[in-house]
């Protein structure tokens, strides 16, 4: 206990209000004690001169921070949308003796990036992830070797690459460093030769070529790196853009927090290898806090502004990156780049894209080009892709992941899907002024479309039609792969530029309910329309007779009609509710939540009608 106390004291004493983060401090303290106790809050409040109640409200708003003592072996199950975590839950309870007090089982919707596979965290470490629940139960017992630490990562990197000469020195650094910054500094000093970076780069390139060939963004990023490799241009810079970064795909702050180390490492390695002079970050106003994370994990706490940001109680401040450009929306970024763009070099694919699509959507066009901004030759990478690359960096070094799919590599999901026919891909598009076109139609395989799992936008060629329920347009394919696409269209989910991989025969009503629950968890709860609106929506969606029948099997059929549920008027209410949420939102979370759900609702209006008026489920998922 004494050691722990001294550690915490050191942590708090070294904590500097101007340069470090409260969230980081809380996480560090929690790693020592397992929870954040009352005396610690008092100490911090005295040190920072912030009132304790304010700290309390901040800590309680993060699901990852515990205010109560939790059992050491806390198992968290991802309660995301599509995967049936009910079976995982029951499997876990069967296989493990969870009734003892030392182990606690909780649900947490903020664990994973992806929408598709059940995830389990054991003692805050990613334990296992799999598609089918049977795998889960077996794998959870086998869980071992997870590389959450950079230290382990580098050790394995050394083993794998077999750099024996610098081994001892590296291990010295690795074992002695205390923070990322210091570590990078050491690395830079010790290894002037590019050997490590080169090796790393080759590895990444190979793996991208092998496994992620579908990912347009990454490919183009690499091709633009090639451009720098081949040409001798003086001023080089890299630009990170956070444009299509839907809040619900990354709001899991904990994982982003964990990833930032890798991203920083990756950025350092890029700048070492290609001699990038500067790193510019183009972001939308909403994503400011991401910069802070990248900026060596700085989340600063401003004293007087408990703002109504969507992370309640916290406002973020940009600290160290000088070349930061913030735009209000996508079109501003596109305009900015369009003026500056010069056609320097492109891979063949990218060139094709540029020329063939007259109506390309501006905001992703700069993914695969080199621009001239203020005399700097600049390549672009989407931050989502960067996260993926960073995860890749992690995975190259880790040992085989062939048997188990990793949550960190969503791109593999599509490959995996080919082997498991019970999954289908559902993809989406937005309704915008520009007609949406589909790209890469040749790449349809036997049963599935191999669409990279990413929220950077993919352009599909030659599809423009208008077959709709209510306002939304359905894309229809006109060429020879028409029939296959039809089968996909049956399970189409519309959203804001999101692609969702899901099981076949998923009931859209059930999906909407699960998604609404998930979005409710993401809401900070300050504004009425978001907090109460989504809660009421959850109630409306879960109280459909068919869904309720599973719980109330003894009830007669008349029961439901008497209650007054699931009538025509309910459908109207749902639609009005969603419109209200969209219209009264001023932040991104509420707005996208409403848009997403409304697009699903309108697209699957027939299914909703089935449920609410005729009391049947066309997918036969909701059993009677």
């Amino acid at each position: 206990m004494l050691d722990k106390n001294t550690k915490v004291k050191e942590l708090i004493n070294n904590f500097n209000i101007n340069t470090s983060s409260l969230y980081e401090l809380f996480i560090d303290i929690q790693e020592i004690y397992g929870y954040i106790s009352d005396p610690i809050l008092t100490i911090i409040s005295e040190k920072l001169n912030i009132h304790k109640t304010k700290l309390l409200s901040i800590t309680s708003s993060y699901p990852n921070l515990n205010l109560l003592v939790k059992p050491a072996n806390n198992i968290q199950i991802c309660s995301k949308l599509l995967c049936n975590n009910d079976s995982v839950y029951s499997n876990l309870i069967e296989n493990m003796d969870l009734k003892t007090k030392e182990v606690s089982l909780t649900e947490n919707s903020n664990i994973a990036f992806c929408f598709a596979c059940p995830t389990v965290l054991i003692a805050n470490k990613l334990a296992f992830y799999s598609f089918s629940s049977s795998e889960c139960s077996t794998n959870v017992l086998k869980m071992n070797n997870h590389f959450d630490d950079i230290r382990q990562l580098i050790e394995h990197f050394i083993q794998k690459t077999k750099i024996k000469t610098i081994n001892s020195e590296l291990i010295n650094i690795v074992t002695n460093f205390t923070n990322t910054q210091e570590f990078i500094h050491c690395l830079k000093n010790k290894f002037n030769s590019k050997s490590i970076y080169k090796l790393l780069y080759e590895n990444i390139k190979n793996s991208i070529n092998n496994k992620m060939s579908n990912n347009l963004g990454l490919n183009n990023f690499l091709s633009s790196l090639n451009f720098f490799d081949n040409n001798s241009i003086q001023n080089r810079s890299i630009v990170l853009i956070a444009v299509d970064f839907e809040p619900f795909s990354f709001i899991n702050l904990y994982l982003v927090y964990k990833y930032t180390d890798f991203i920083i490492l990756f950025l350092v390695f890029l700048s070492e290898l290609f001699k990038f002079n500067r790193i510019v970050i183009l972001i939308r106003n909403d994503f400011k806090f991401l910069i802070d994370l990248l900026n060596y994990k700085i989340i600063s706490f401003q004293n007087n502004s408990i703002s109504s940001n969507y992370l309640s109680g916290i406002s973020f401040e940009i600290k160290r990156i000088p070349n930061l450009i913030i735009f209000e929306d996508r079109s501003a970024i596109a305009n900015f780049l369009n003026n500056k763009r010069i056609q320097v070099h492109n891979t063949a694919d990218a060139r094709k894209l540029c020329t063939t699509n007259a109506n390309f959507v501006l905001n992703e066009h700069f993914l695969y080009d080199v621009y001239d901004i203020n005399g700097h030759y600049t390549c672009f990478i989407n931050i989502v892709d960067l996260f993926k690359l960073a995860s890749l960096l992690k995975n190259i070094i880790s040992i085989d992941t062939t048997s188990i799919l990793s949550v960190e590599q969503p791109c593999f999901i599509t490959n995996y899907l080919k082997e498991t026919p019970q999954y289908e891909i559902i993809f989406s598009y937005t309704k915008s002024n520009n007609p949406i076109t589909f790209y890469e139609c040749n790449k349809f395989n036997n049963d599935f479309v191999t669409i990279p799992f990413s929220n950077s936008i993919f352009i599909f060629n030659n599809i423009t039609t208008n077959k709709s329920t209510k306002d939304c347009e359905f894309p229809i394919y006109s060429e020879n792969t028409e029939q296959k696409l039809d089968s996909i269209l049956k399970n189409l989910l519309l959203s804001c530029n999101n692609i969702i991989v899901t099981k076949a025969n998923l009931c859209p009503v059930k999906f909407t309910y699960k998604f609404a629950c998930y979005l409710l968890d993401q809401s900070c709860g300050n504004c009425v329309h978001c907090r109460e609106g989504l809660l009421v929506l959850c109630n409306l969606l879960s109280n459909i007779p068919i869904l309720r029948r599973r719980h109330d099997q003894n009830q007669t059929k008349n029961y439901f009609f008497k209650e007054g549920f699931a009538s025509d008027s309910k459908l109207e209410i749902i639609e009005n509710l969603l419109e209200t949420i969209i219209l009264s939102s001023t932040c991104y979370v509420g707005y996208t939540a409403g848009k997403f759900l409304l697009s699903i609702f309108r697209c699957f209006y027939k299914d909703f009608e089935d449920h609410y008026v005729r009391h049947q489920c066309s997918k036969k998922v909701c059993k009677i």
């Binding site: 009352d38 809050l41 009132h51 304790k52 109640t53 304010k54 309390l56 409200s57 309680s60 708003s61 993060y62 699901p63 205010l67 109560l68 649900e107 109504s308 309640s312 109680g313 629950c517 409710l520 968890d521 993401q522 809401s523 900070c524 709860g525 300050n526 504004c527 009425v528 329309h529 907090r531 109460e532 609106g533 989504l534 809660l535 009421v536 959850c538 109630n539 409306l540 879960s542 109280n543 209650e563 007054g564 209410i573 009005n576 509710l577 419109e579 209200t580 969209i582 219209l583 009264s584 939102s585 001023t586 707005y591």
Partner: protein
């Protein structure tokens, strides 16, 4: 047509100044000062936009969203309490789209609010009810939906509070507008209330939160006044009071505070400041109360005591420090005990008027009527909730029984009258019982900020045998400012005084004192804005206007009194002689002295 043209020309010329902007609301174009919000601008045009979470334009959370307006060229609807005006804005406040969305938002607000209007303490005075009337409430999904099927995932963090404190939080009725948090953190600066959790689990935490013990609440009760729904209440002692009154074997004494005399009328739909003192006494006598005593008497006594103590401290007879801080307000005492432990020796050693009178009354009644002290019940009627806590303090008990057995607020008294079926307005007047019945003018103005200083300075002059000065020198401390500095000449010396009202300003003054920025001899601190006239036991309307009307009523009565100085109150001297022998005697000290402790929680 012509006036329109004229206005148009006017606007064009005026727009050139940077401090003004031209906007159009509901088709009416006007010029408003730059920097204000749309809500304020609409107020200029007499357009009322419904709003719940903003109060007096000071806090702008934008949480209730009822104040949304449509801005031309903007896809979403904007909260007008948060949006500042810009040049050329075209705003619709009650268009069809806005009305539809606003109605839906009201439904959402009420979906988590328990519809218990008939039994609610706020019934008729409720702000939510008013807004429902304004917007129109259709009850789409409130009643016919089973409550929260999602509730399995909602953690039960918000427990109903049943601790020793006065304030009770009822999460069923809370609409999470954040007004109480604003007034507690920004205006009173106690920071006892905060948000906890997020999304559907968002709740408001009071001192009794089970995980962390952050009970900093001073029970000033300002949050009760601003709560738009009935989520915050105080514990009622009404049943106990009834029990005491119905018991024929008990002797019941009621103490009536000077501020309650003039503010109880508000509960019976009179304008603020209506004097109902005589009727109240008659009504209490009708109920079977044995004695009704005037708390202004205790105020006179307490002025004398403060003056004596100040005199002692000034003449270096005592080792205690200057300035002398008044101990009349329990919230201030608690504030000093919690946050300003260094200043505890500066607090006056004497109890507050309520406790002084209760103690003396009990002794006097038992002595003159041969009643056992245990059979005497003292009930006080005050405009304050913190007095309930004060009455329960350990040091205010003799032999385990509270000196003041029960404390009633104005609202509770009004309810008592209604339950007893007494029409207060039509009763004849009667006067207080002897001997605690007379008071000077100063004793009456105790309820407003500056009253204590006036009484004490006058008494100090009496102690130093100075002549009675009848002048208007005290008007400068009877203003409605929050912090007032002044000085008075008593004899050869100059006495510097300060008075603050509202805990936030008290805190400001105390920190100044602690750091030695100011040097003062006497400090009067009152916890509620404007003094006891802003107390939380009174009507829900605690605006500046209402408070100043109450102050005016107090001062009017004060000036009407023939006896102006506390020292001229012969009854005070009589009682001191009869019960205490002398102010400085040991007996007096043992009866009148208060004790203070350092404390972190209450």
């Amino acid at each position: 047509m012509i006036p329109e043209k004229n206005t148009f020309i006017d606007t064009k010329t005026l727009i050139t100044s940077p401090n003004e902007v031209k906007i159009t609301i509901n088709g009416i174009s006007t010029i408003v000062p730059a920097g204000i919000t749309i809500l304020e601008a609409a107020k200029f045009l007499n357009i009322s936009i419904p709003n719940l979470c903003s109060m007096n334009f000071t806090n702008r959370f934008g949480k209730c969203r009822l104040c949304i307006v449509e801005l031309k060229g903007c896809e979403i609807l904007l909260p007008s309490c948060k949006t500042h005006v810009r040049n050329g804005m075209i705003i619709e406040t009650h268009s069809q789209k806005v009305r539809k969305v606003r109605k839906m938002l009201l439904e959402l607000l009420l979906s988590s609010h328990k519809n218990e209007c008939l039994t609610c303490t706020r019934h008729i005075k409720c702000q939510l009810q008013k807004i429902c009337e304004e917007i129109g409430f259709e009850n789409l999904f409130c009643n016919n939906m089973p409550k929260n099927s999602y509730i399995g995932k909602v953690k039960s963090t918000n427990l109903k509070n049943n601790g020793s404190h006065v304030i009770v939080y009822n999460s069923d009725k809370c609409i999470k507008c954040g007004r109480c948090i604003h007034i507690c953190n920004e205006i009173q600066q106690i920071e006892a209330i905060t948000y906890l959790g997020r999304s559907a689990n968002l709740s408001i935490a009071l001192h009794d939160y089970s995980v962390l013990n952050t009970s900093l609440c001073n029970s000033c009760g300002q949050c009760l006044l601003v709560c738009p729904s009935g989520a915050l209440e105080y514990k009622s002692d009404l049943e106990n009071v009834w029990e005491a009154i119905d018991d024929k074997h008990k002797t019941v004494i009621v103490l009536l505070s000077p501020t309650s005399k003039i503010s109880i009328g508000e509960e019976f739909n009179k304008s603020p400041g209506t004097q109902l003192c005589g009727q109240i006494i008659t009504a209490l006598k009708k109920l079977g109360v044995n004695f009704v005593f005037d708390m202004s008497f205790a105020a006179d006594l307490s002025s004398l005591l403060y003056a004596q103590e100040l005199h002692n401290r000034l003449s270096n007879n005592s080792s205690k420090k200057l300035p002398l801080i008044t101990s009349s307000c329990p919230t201030v005492v608690m504030l000093i005990e919690q946050h300003f432990c260094d200043l505890i020796p500066n607090l006056s050693i004497y109890k507050s008027p309520q406790q002084l009178l209760a103690k003396l009354a009990k002794i006097w009644v038992s002595k003159n009527y041969n009643v056992n002290i245990k059979d005497i019940y003292v009930i006080s009627i005050v405009p304050c909730t913190a007095k309930k806590v004060e009455a329960n303090r350990l040091e205010n008990k003799t032999n385990g029984i509270n000196d003041v057995n029960y404390v009633m607020t104005n609202k509770e008294f009004a309810k008592l009258m209604k339950e007893a079926g007494i029409e207060l307005e039509n009763l004849p007047t009667s006067s207080f019982d002897l001997p605690f019945s007379f008071s000077s003018g100063c004793g009456i103005s105790y309820g407003s900020s500056g009253g204590i200083i006036e009484g004490t300075i006058e008494s100090l002059r009496y102690i130093q045998n100075m002549p009675n000065t009848i002048s208007d020198e005290f008007y400068k401390i009877h203003t409605m400012n929050e912090i007032k500095y002044s000085d008075f000449i008593v004899g050869n010396s100059k006495i510097t005084v300060a008075c603050a009202s509202g805990l936030g300003y008290c805190k400001e003054l105390l920190t100044d004192l602690q750091r030695g920025h100011v040097k003062l001899d006497f400090v009067e601190l009152l916890g509620c804005p404007g003094g006891c006239v802003g107390g939380s036991g009174q009507g829900f309307d605690s605006s500046f206007d209402t408070r100043s009307m109450r102050v005016l009523a107090l001062l009017r009565e004060d000036r009407a009194k023939s006896i102006r100085r506390p020292s001229d109150n012969a009854m005070v001297h009589l009682i001191i002689k009869e019960l205490l022998e002398n102010i400085n005697s040991n007996k007096a000290q043992s009866i009148l002295e208060a004790k203070y402790y350092k404390r972190y929680n209450l």
